[in-house]
Symmetry: C2
């Protein structure tokens, strides 16, 4: 049977190479490809995705996965071997249902609609993107129809990014959180003058911002011999082509140095996750973060739970004062801490604070469900977006670039991905509660600028496992129970009651 | 039959995508990949090359090429359709002889030996590279054996880069040139004090060097919406993933601004060639420079024939004086012209002047022939290299990094490529002689900074045809006769007799 497993692994290695090569193409496309290459890159990624798909859904892989059922049962659930078989079977059963021509068409349309979305956003004109988005939603419906055995078609898309998750399961969590978030937002809004973040707005040279972002992320444990940080003007993101080749990007605004810093920490959180996946899983298709939720649990853990905490700032703020002198010379730690945690309803999700963030996600989650189920028409989307923003956050976008056009996801065919931002955020706090139990003096360590145990804990409990476990499985393993929204809400309540003296 | 051609083209499109994607991987590897990725990138390129090869030598392509023979004969030789069939048949008949496992092994070994070559060069220690080079030569011999029907095995390798070329044919050209070059080198050496290039050695900030390189190359016609110029510390090169995605790189030395400038022009010459290939040839495998010789005819045309000429400098030198002020304020155009054309036997091929350059190439050509035919042992290579350098150029490398380890080519498996540098250089002058006939006032145009007709002439006569014609075919078409070394030697003689007052 070891023989059959080796055969399976050799098939998977080729598929994985093709998947990772395609990621190189996409990184290049976003970070540095010249505009004249849009057409060719669309062809290239379409060919690569079709091939990766074709080789993965190969009948031989199907037979091997079948033949390995008994062998898998004989092994511990959490062994690498059993997991390689189990997780690849799950993916196989999903992907085998999607016809190769649809994969290819999606890849091609993604490249095209990415460009029309970019143009629409730049020109603040939704109509430029409308037809491509409608086509993308149509393609997504085709994917959902191929994957689904009935029920809500949105469930099939959610399952791609977070296996086992359905609209109903997620809605149960979000429905618990939503009224509490709205109440907290109202309480903060009523006391909004108690925090002033205007002290964060001052210019700092790009060079200094870059150097500081590199220093902080390296200290956390992002290994620059196994990755890169690039600064560019697009949507910040992380991608990886190997545990030893992890690329993160950040957008720098000259007038808001705290922004690039926090964004770098966020992406480094994703990056350290990928760098920490066991090398034993290389080319098995489990050499990857487990899911988008768990990925987000890492990025938002390092950005918010740690990066916007008093202990972290106690160590780093004096250094930040030094490189930004004289701008913050007379701003004490407490004032800076409160400023960097200011909560205020705003238009852009990626810039949203910890309290309002969840509502941005819930809005998208609900809208996606309505779009896929045909209850909202694409032509009505800007209107619908704006009316829900008003309802949840009390703000109205002045134009679509700050509204429905702000996120790259839909142009990239990522429907069903948004809820994972909030699921991951919720999980990040559940991990933090567990970490504090396991490392009682963790906050004192962070105050001293010691991050080895923090990273080590995530390495051991989350990173090393790669894609072996789902969110429910990992939650059970690490925290002894299922995902719960209450610890997250308690964390927000405590943190913001103190900041806003509620 | 149009139907069969369409089928062929759809097969070729996939192959071409895979080839171009592999070029993205290689560009990334050389320009910005982190060191931790060496292993994964070797796996990825091996998988890609094996797939591209496997899909290209597919039996169906073979049958289609067969079935299209009559159709091809019915079409004009220089039509796109006939050329697509003819050139792909030639490549097919070559590649089908190389077993896929050898392609994969070569790709993998190339990644490994690239790294051991780098290390050997850094540590100036040939022994670090010796075993990998020996293995590479062994693999090259296997390729030659697979391709060859007898005769000199080196011919089979030469034919890969310059179809139809053999050791004997090239030797005929080089043997005519060699004694003349040696004589000219001797005459210049006897008068070496007549030109002083120390005025070129002064520091200039990297920013200014980059900006000027971009300005000059853009003015020549390199289109930055369809390409990039990156500055990095490795061997300068050009690569392309589409006519609209051409990447060139340059190495900058802070203390020698003329170096980065000339190197940028050289690479832009390659780049403009690729940008100018007819879009009708996209994804046909003819969307590519014709051969390495013809490629070099373009880069060395723009770098030397134009870039080191009086008319060019008449326009650009005042601008160069401005950005380098005060260093060249008191250096007149004639002094600068002579300095930038100084000829002196030296160690490094890529830094060699126009006169000595050919001897560097001839040395490699002869050595490769001896290596492939087993007349020189790998362990004797440094000794052999140094003794021939002494004989041809009168200089001896102080260590192997400035001798046998200086070029990347052998580590990359490029045996049979070197002679094309000189063949292309020879052809660049033959093109220039023709251009002067076709555009009588071309030098006056260049003096005025007008390059449209220069580029337009190359576009129309060379670029647009892509890979349709071989060097002999193109030479015949454009200059009305075969490749001849005499115009090149006359050009050198005239230029250098004037500069050195011989």
């Amino acid at each position: 049977m070891q023989d059959k497993l080796d055969q399976l692994k050799s098939h998977l290695a080729r598929v994985r190479d093709l998947e990772l090569v395609n990621s190189v193409l996409e990184w290049d496309m976003e970070v540095l490809m010249p505009e004249g290459a849009a057409k060719s890159r669309a062809d290239q990624t379409a060919t690569m995705e079709a091939l990766a798909h074709q080789y993965f859904v190969d009948e031989e892989i199907g037979s091997l996965l079948d033949e390995l059922r008994d062998f898998e049962s004989s092994l511990p659930f959490d062994s690498n071997e059993a997991s390689i078989i189990r997780v690849n079977r799950r993916d196989y059963e999903q992907q085998v249902r999607i016809p190769t021509h649809l994969v290819e068409e999606l890849a091609r349309h993604r490249s095209l609609s990415y460009h029309s979305w970019m143009k629409a956003r730049q020109q603040k004109d939704f109509s430029i993107f409308e037809a491509d988005l409608a086509r993308m939603i149509d393609l997504q419906k085709q994917v959902a129809a191929a994957l689904s055995d009935g029920g809500n078609p949105y469930d099939a898309l959610l399952d791609i990014f977070e296996p086992g998750m359905t609209y109903e399961k997620i809605d149960t969590v979000f429905s618990g959180l939503k009224p509490n978030l709205i109440k907290l937002v109202e309480a903060i809004t009523a006391n909004k003058d108690r925090v002033d973040d205007s002290i964060l707005r001052f210019p700092l040279s790009l060079d200094k911002q870059e150097a500081f972002a590199r220093e902080v992320t390296a200290k956390f444990g992002f290994d620059y011999t196994k990755g890169r940080l690039d600064f560019f003007n697009g949507h910040p993101f992380e991608t990886h082509f190997y545990q030893g080749d992890v690329r993160i990007t950040t957008r720098i605004e000259e007038d808001y140095p705290a922004g690039a810093l926090m964004s770098s920490i966020h992406e480094a959180g994703h990056g350290m996750y990928e760098q920490g996946v066991s090398l034993d899983l290389y080319r098995t298709r489990l050499d990857n973060g487990a899911s988008s939720s768990i990925h987000e649990s890492q990025s938002r853990f390092f950005e918010n739970v740690i990066g916007r905490s008093r202990p972290f700032l106690k160590y780093w703020y004096p250094k930040f004062q030094q490189i930004t002198t004289p701008n913050l010379d007379n701003v004490d730690l407490d004032t800076f801490y409160r400023a960097i945690n200011k909560s205020e309803p705003s238009l852009i999700r990626v810039d949203a604070d910890e309290v309002t963030y969840g509502l941005h996600v819930i809005l998208r989650f609900e809208l996606e469900n309505d779009l896929i189920n045909g209850r909202v028409k694409v032509s009505d989307l800007p209107k619908e977006w704006n009316s829900r923003m008003k309802q949840y956050l009390g703000v109205t976008p002045p134009d679509d670039s700050k509204g429905v056009l702000q996120d790259v996801h839909w142009s990239a065919g990522l429907f069903g991905y948004f809820p994972d931002y909030l699921l991951g955020t919720i999980f990040s706090v559940q991990l933090w509660e567990q970490m504090k139990k396991d490392i009682p003096d963790v906050e004192a360590q962070i105050e001293r600028g010691e991050f080895d145990q923090v990273l080590g804990w995530q390495r051991k409990n989350v990173h090393v496992h790669g894609k072996k476990f789902t969110l429910p499985e990992l939650s059970e393993r690490v925290t002894g129970g299922p995902l719960r929204w209450e610890p997250y809400m308690n964390y927000l309540q405590a943190k913001y009651s103190e900041i806003y003296r509620l």
